[in-house]
Structure formats: C-alpha cells, structure tokens
Homo-oligomer: 341 residues x 4
C-alpha cells in the first residue's frame, strides 16, 4: 500500500533529522529566542531579500492562520476568503473561534479576483455588518492552482485601494514557487502582501511554518499573540533547527520541486489517458475524475482521498505527492493507471 | 556557561531521536490517527492501569491548558487556581482569551487547599458573578512542591461535593511522581481528578503533553477542540513516536528521577551551607535566596532565573535540573557554591 | 414625510406608556426579579399553554440571538442559517464574536428546508470542520414570508433526527402569528422548537424580546449568560411592565394584526397595479420592484429602504408597516401609487 | 417596607416619562441616528465644554464596560482594576468573555493609586504575561468614595507615562460630581481620561449610559462594536429622549444631589450615634457596620443589602439613596436608627 493521501505522510527530510541529532545536547534559550531560530530567520530574510520584515516560526498552519488573523484584526473586522479556503472549510471554525467572520466568495479555481473583493467590500456598507479588512488567499491553493504575478499584483492593488490587508497562506508555498507555471519570487510576494507564510510541515519538516510580517503596523507585540494561543514552543529550537536546514541552501526548493515533478508525471499520464481533471494542476495536488470502478481497483494498492461524487459512476479524487514520494512508486502507479483507465 | 535555566534547554533524549530516525520513512495517516500514536496511547493506558480513559497527545502545555479548559467549561464558568498557577501568571491570558475568568486564591507553597476552594465557591453566590467550575492545580507546582495522596484526595472530595472539575497540569508530573516525597501513583491520580496531563516537553521529548480525560462527560468531540485551537498536528506521528518511546518501558520515569536526583544534590549542599530556601523542594526546581554578590559570581559560569529581590542584598533565584543535566556540571556547581556561600 | 422604513419608527403603544406611568414610583427589585416581570412571564406562559418553559425578557433581538446561541453551543458547534438570516447579514458578526461559525444555505423565500439542513449536516463530516448543532430560522422571515405548520413540523423532525437544536428568531413573530396565511399557534411552535422568542420592539414595545426556552437542558444557569453579555437590565421592570401590558389581553396580537392589515392594503394595490413583488408577502414587510423614477417620486413624501438594483431601470424596495401605521397615511400612499405606477 | 437596596428601585423621573409621552408618535430613524439622540449628544457636549468628543448612548453599564474595553484593546492587552471594581466582581466575567484578563490591585477605599498601576506594569515584563493597557476606575466607586482632582490628575499622568488608557466607569458619576467633597468638573474629567461614561440608569433614567470617547484613536468604527454586542437599540430614541431631558437643564445634577443629600442625612445620624462605617461616604452609598440584632429589626421595615459578617455580632450593610428617595422615608428611617442603635 502506497500513500498519495497527502504531503505529510512521512517524517522529515533526513538532513533535518541529522541536524536535530547534531545539535541535540547544545543548550539553548527557550521560546524561540535560541541561536538556531535566529540563524533560520536570518537565512529566510536573505531568501526574501530584505531585512525589514519580522519572521516568526510557528508549529502549524491552522495555528498560524488563527494567530495572525486574530492579531491583525479588531473585533468587528472580517476576513474575505474563497469558498475553498482552508480557513473556511478545514479549520473547525478556528477563525470564528477568535471572534471573526469569514466572508466567502466563490472565486475561480480556488483563487480570488479583484472583482470578488470589491463585491464583498461594497456589500458590507454599514455598521450593521462586519467590516471586511483582511483578504485570505492560499498559494498554492487548496485545489492545486497558483497565483500569477499579474493576479497577485492586481489583488495587492485592490487591497491597498480599499484599505484591506492581504494575507497569503503558504502552507504549500514551496510547491507554488517551484511550479513550472510560476512567475513569482519570494521577493515579489513580500512586496505585494502584508504577511505570508512559508510552510515547512508539507515540505520536509516535522512541523513548522515561517510567518513573514511585512507591514510595520502588524509587527508590534506579535510574540504575545503566539504565546497566548499556545504556539510558543518551549523548545523553539525544534523549529529553528529545521528551518535553518531547509534554508541553509536550496533544500526547501529542491524538495518542493521533487513533489511537483512527481505530480507532473502522474498528471501527464492522466491527460494522455484522457482522464478528466478538476483543473490542470501546476503543483503537487492532482484532482482527477475517475470511474468508481477504477478508483476501487487503485484503492487496493494506494491510499488517496475520495473527495466527492462527480456523477453516478465517477468520483473526484485527490492525489498528493511530496518531497518523500518515491519515483518508483510513481512509476508503478502510472503503470496501474495505464492498465486501468 | 552551563544552564540551570529550565528543563527544556536541550533537545530530546537520544532514544527518542533514534525512534524518529527509525520510523522516518514509514508512511502514516495524519492528525494523530497514526499507528505510533495508537501504540503510545495504549502504553500510557497500561501505566495508568485502565482502558476507559481518553488520551490525546498535544504539542504544548499552554495549549493543553487552554484547549481542555475551554472545552470543559460553558461561557459563564470559571477556573479556580492558585496565585502561582501557570495559567494565571505565565500564559499571556490564554484562558481569558477563550472567555473564562480565573479566580485566584493565594494557596500555600503553590498548592490549593479544600478551604481555598470552598471560599471561592461561597463567595460566588449568584449570576452577577462567574460560576466556579474547574479547579486547576499543577503537580509538581510552579514552586517545586508536590501534592500528597492525602491532599489530592481531600481536593477530589471537595470538588465532587461542589460539582467542580479537578484538572491537573502535569507539565512536570514526571518530577512529582518520582520525587522521594511522593506517595501518589498514576493510577491514584486518575481516580481523583477529572483530567490531567503527562508532560513530555520538560521530561525528554521535543514537544508533547499527553492529556488524559477520565470523566466521561468531558470526552465527547474532544478532537474538534484540538483542531479548532490549531493543535492537531498534521504529522501527529511526531507526538506518537516520542510518547511511545517514553512509555515503552520506564524511560519517562528514569529521566524524571535523574532530574530530581541532580536537584537534590544541589539542595543538600545549599542546606548544608545554610542557604535559605523559599521552600524545601522535593522535585527538580530549587528556589534558594542568595546574596546578590554570590549570584553575580555564579552568573559568570551558569545561567539561571533571578526571580525577585528578597531584600536589599539578597534575591530569590530558580535553579532547574532536567533529564539532561550532567552530573559533572552539578558537581562543579556544588564546588562553586561551597566556595562562594 | 411619512415613514415606511421599518416597524420601530415610533415609541410605544400608548397603553404601554400608561403602564410605565402608573407603576413608576412602585419600588421593585432589580435585574428582572421584580413583580412586573413575574406577572409578564406568567401571562406569556398562559398564552403558550404550558408552565414548564423558562422565559427571559431581554432588551433586543441581536442580543437575544447572541446570548441564546452562545449559551446553547459548545465552542466547536455551529449554526445553520439561511443566507438572508438576520444573524448572518445584519448583526455585525455578533455570533462569530462569541466564537461560533454560521453555515449558510440559500434556502427559499428566506426559509430553510429539511433538505438544506441534511445537506449541511452531511457536508460537515469530521473534526476538521465545525459541527452543525443549531438551526436558526426567523418567523416571519427577513423577506416577509412565514413558516407553515407543515414546514415547521418537518424542520422539527429533521432537527430531532440529527440531534440539532431548532431556534426561532421571533423578532416579528406577532406579524407571523396574525397573518391570514398562518396556521401555527404559539402552543404548536413551543412543541416544535427548542427555543424561540416573541418580539416586543417591533410590535409596540420600546424595547424587549421574550425568550422562551422549552428544552430542559438549555435552561440551566441562563441568567448568568444574560448578565455576562450585559443584557440584565438593572431596571428589569421596564421589560416586565411592557410585556405584562402586551399579554394582559390580546394587545400583542391586535397590534400585529393592524400592521399586517396595513401591509395587505398596500400589497393588494401593488398587485392590482401589476407591480412585480420579490414574493407575495403574508406579513408586514413588502418587497415591490419599481421603476427608479417612481421610487424617486415616492421618496419625496415617504421614507423607505431601497434594497438593491433589480435591473437598469428598476429597484427592489422594502415597505414596512407597524402597529403605529396610520390608515390615512396608507390610503394616501395608495393614491400616490395609483397615480405613479 | 421601604427600600434602600439600590438606586434603581423606581422607574424614571417624571419629566423623562413626560418626554417619552410627548414624543411618542413622532417618527424617528432607528439605531441612534434619530433627532433626539443628536440633541442629547449636543447637550452633553456642551456640559463637557468641548465638541471634539464622540458620545454614544448605550443601554447599560456592564454593556458599556464590555463594549468599550473590548473595542479599545488588542487580544493580548489587559485591564488594571481595583479588587472592588465592578468589572472584576459583579459582571459575570463579561470582560474575560471578550478575551481580556483583569489584573487586580487591592487599592484603597475602592480607588487605585499611581503606585498600584506602576506595580502592575512592572510585574508584567514580557510576552509570557498579558500586557497591561487600560486602567479601569469607577467614580463614585463601588464603596461610595470619589476621586479628587489631585488623585485623578496623578492617575492620568502615570497612565500617559506608561502608554495606558484611563477609563472611568461613571455609572454613579452624578453622585460623584455633586458630592460636597467633589472638586472635579466634567470638563476636567474629559481632559484627564481617555473615555468615561455618564450613568443614567442610576440617576433617574429607565436605562442608559452616555459613553464619552475623548482620545481620537479610540473613536473609529465604534458603532460597529455597539451593534456587534447587541447594544444598538432599534428604538435608540428611548436613550436619546431620556438624556435630552436629563441634560436639557440641570436635572441630571439635581437628581444626583438629592440622592447625596438623603444619604448625608442618614450618615450624619449614624456618625452621631457612634455607628462605625466602612468609610465616611461622600456620595449616595453608605456602608455602616451594625449589630445583627439591629439589622434584623430594621429589616422588618426596610430592605437593604447585607454585605458580609464583620464579626460574630455585627455585619456590614449597604444603604443606597437615589433621586427618588423620599425625605419622609429617610426621616422615619433616622428615627428608627435613633431608637435601635
């Protein structure tokens, strides 16, 4: 049984484990004030190409979303998110639990457009409604798509015009940035959004997301919020050591590239076999629509998510590859697809 | 420079790192539904001696406190805690951020008595005040003391009589259970409280607290709360593997015993040298009161917390030992104490 | 200028003011424990035909919604509401501010169907999503429609089958119950929902909604929640005296009936004149679609809400009548409609 | 039976009822945008002597406290309050329910000193603790004392020096301002605090507190917060008409003066009779300590609050006078005191 269930089925990249091992008995200060975290932050700043950002390492994605959003907003302010946004669907109301409404727009292929945002802002016209204040987007999105430079530039513009914050969930930012369809750099992202994060958990780390706060007014007292929400690890070194390793060279990008490459191999096969797709994915998540019979056959040897019925005889499934996906397993899977489809 | 700053200055016990290494490429289901977590939970149940409890592995202590307390209480219900309780002092209002007031009682040596609880309950007499519902205690406490069987039995009784939940923060439960002054077992604790947790972070793990829910009415839907607060790790395996290793045999207890032993050696020296103590500690945290001049000398070679001024010329400091504390460092420290005090 | 803007443009029915005057210097206990509130509660219980309900008088509708919903739900539980539901659109995120997500379904004419509810329940399948627990409906709805006995019975059934609470916002319950299309009684409503309220503010009182809690498990400690949210008036008598007057005889129903009658006169005219309606309203809110030019003419003498553009040349407006609407004003308005349409 | 239980035992001052009657059928816009509220706000601004403040009329005191404090603070910021502060004791955790911790200082006679504030600020030294941000005081206090100009000036200074907001709960501000011991004016208060409110409920109105926001940064979007917490009355006119009447001339001050005068008569008698007092009250709340036997006798003809046992044979009681207290009842009470003490 091989799993294409998600990008967090294995542990950490061996170099990360090795780094944990090598530093294990070095004593360090707690709560993210350790030397490893400092170095990691410095390495990430260099990749982003600027020193005037604040970077915080936070254990998980839902946590990063809820801490950032609740820290950035006043009580009456709300989030605009696409219907498929992780904060809307898959976080058990984490944002609402901090007191904030999420306004959803259908979007397109998991992405918001300037028109979506303007519509939300115009609808919320007085104090009887929440005040839209933060636009939440994911890159790559929950359906595998990515934002182009033109799209992100347009979103940034409309946000600035309407006094909105633009926040990018980058749980899968590695896969977005190393997509063959990508034309955005970390440096450009940092110039277009107010805050974003670089996901480690889904790209080779055991845990960890690096939140980058760009806009000055959002920086103050941020560690208070991390602590209050229970995310300031006593052994913050665990996060520091991992991100130091990921960004010491290009490991972070190489791992994401591998995931994309494995997905592309599968997707190319699916396309060649005429299998319909929810969308042509540029990243490490694929959404083919297959006959239920084929799905049942595949499920004998592979695990993956069945998302929903497409019609009486077909279902939409999700296949995810990762830094750890073995090319041999992909090849076997491709052979099975050829046999079954 | 050697650190007696806290019990989380190093990484993890080597056996834990080894276990992470060995299991690293085994694929596992996400979010705590993996095989490692199942095994860990089963091993802990065996140590507790009962199967009818729910166990959840949660990354950190503040997180465990806030998730459990907010899950257990209705909006108008409040916590009773000692003035020194971690939730009151050192969690940035995490409990209040979930909507609940903490009622503090001074207590004695960091511990609550039945009289404290009755006083709090009787004061809060109608709907213009919060309704006390949960008693929060730590074992060992924030000042190093531990609860005796008689004390915990008495607390359990008064809680049941007043329809209160008894919740034990066990971030340092290892040090309590292996104290030479301890007369409580895990089995007995589970019969006296409604929920408690077994701290991994301060006893050899990288992260992780094992929350044990005993009372049936508190069990329902608990994973929703973990997820909503951002504590359901995608790679839940990280927690499972660590606790499996700690409870596979007696490693958890051996590590705590070592910490206590190292503290006892230092404390015996302090006593012999006539150094006053905040209290005679039975666990791995010591609170001596020393001349400022001595503190300044010690600070050249050791790091530790200076808690507060005791008088013009003396201060209260905290010394903490851990599973990783080297006996040779302790011996040197003792020599320095003998020289300076 | 005559206002059809809403049903709270005037003060209180003269009998209510008279009652306030007559009782003014009688001393009474504070916080809703006064004699007037007791009598009001008893009178309402008689109209509902049962003694085993708890009734609380609360100043406003948004307040009643947020207090009841936050008291009834645990942190991970969510509300199902129609897209047009007041809690979703017009309460500035009041429900989310207490920590709970609102799941919206489009519904039909402002109403939810059993299918809507089942869909919401089935979609929310695990702990990564909120758990639907309370169904929020309004009667009459925000677009003037009302629930039939058959519809409410079906909703009650599906809620019981899925362990959901059914909560009815009755800010305009008077207009629903006295509609010529209505086939529900207060007694029947109380047998089908878990809690509902009877709106005073929009039916002749200065302020006040009477929340009726039917299901036993929802009753405990409810006054704590009222107080915590700031809704326990020191002079609770203000609410008691008003509801005592409204339910001493049939005043509450007579006032609502007048409002409906006035609306019906206008609606009959609109229909006769061929003016399209959003829906044929059985209650005191009308939603005609008129040429912008006509709207501009009417706006010279009448105030009302322009809700949205219908097409290039038409808009949807809202006309509301109340207990205080003067028949002479209605007649003049009808004349103007005849002239302009 | 005559009540000295509190200052909200009766309805409203007759002039207020008369004003409600006279304006009853005038149509007005909802939600505080009516002409009456505008006029009331203008009248209050004139009494305060400045136009550059924002004034909002809010139904009740707990509500005003929770709305203002939750609007003014970010999630990690906390309130400093005296142990006797209303927000700490008698609001069912309303502030904590909005997510904020209250740091208590013992204070003296219900009042905070600059030293209390500095102590709280210095203790909270890093992100593991909440960040003190708002100082909550009441004037007159919950034990009847009032702040002098010197005291309030000193508090204002220490708050500005430590970047703290100073917020005054003025539920009984009338009694403070008209005390014979008072040396503060509304104008001066407005120059020393960041926000305060003028209590109507306890000084002749049915409901209503006028919140005055002085500091510009606290003004933005405030109506959103009022609405979100359910305090934006549909018939905002109810608040506007009452405050317009109270501040049209000096009615507000005359009512408070009467309450103080009645209290002073009783207190003078108590002093003359040698009855010990918790403190010599300058306002409308008295706290004598009486033999239990005398209390039992008085309780046959008068209602009042028994606060707590003073010793085996004595208890502390609270006597409150109001705008409505009849001098004849006071005289009889005095006769009874003379007979019994």
């Amino acid at each position: 049984m091989y799993s294409f269930m998600n990008d967090y089925s294995e542990g950490a990249h061996p170099r990360i484990l090795q780094a944990l091992l090598e530093t294990n008995l070095e004593q360090a200060i707690g709560y993210g004030l350790d030397q490893f975290t400092s170095e990691a932050v410095q390495l990430i700043k260099e990749k982003i190409g600027r020193q005037d950002v604040d970077i915080h390492l936070i254990p998980g994605g839902t946590q990063t979303n809820l801490i950032a959003i609740s820290a950035f907003l006043r009580p009456h302010e709300a989030v605009i998110a696409p219907l498929t946004g992780h904060v809307e669907v898959h976080e058990t109301g984490a944002i609402e639990a901090t007191g904030h409404k999420i306004i959803t727009k259908e979007g397109r292929e998991g992405k918001l457009s300037p028109a979506d945002i303007i519509e939300a802002v115009e609808f919320h016209c007085d104090e009887h409604m929440v005040k839209p204040k933060l636009v939440y987007i994911s890159n790559s999105t929950e359906v595998g798509s990515i934002y182009t430079k033109a799209e992100l530039t347009a979103l940034g513009k409309v946000c600035r015009e309407h006094n909105l914050l633009l926040f990018m969930d980058g749980a899968r930012l590695g896969s977005a940035l190393t997509s063959t369809k990508n034309d955005l750099t970390l440096i450009e992202i940092a110039s277009l959004v107010d805050a974003f994060y670089i996901g480690g958990t889904k790209n080779g780390a055991l845990i960890g997301e690096a939140l980058v706060i760009i806009t000055d007014s959002l920086k103050e007292d941020f560690r208070y919020h991390i602590k209050q929400k229970g995310a300031l690890l006593a052994k913050g070194r665990l996060l520091g050591i991992q991100f130091r390793e990921l960004f010491r060279d290009n490991l972070f990008f190489e791992l994401a590239e591998h995931a994309n490459l494995m997905a592309a191999k599968i997707q190319d096969t699916l396309v060649a076999l005429g299998c319909p797709l929810l969308l042509h994915s540029p990243s490490n998540q694929l959404f083919p629509i297959m006959p239920n019979q084929v799905i049942a056959e595949l499920a004998k040897d592979y695990s993956f998510e069945i998302q929903r019925k497409a019609d009486e005889n077909h279902s939409l499934i999700r296949l995810v590859t990762s830094w750890a996906t073995q090319e041999s397993a992909v090849d076997e899977f491709i052979e099975d697809l050829k046999r079954l489809l």
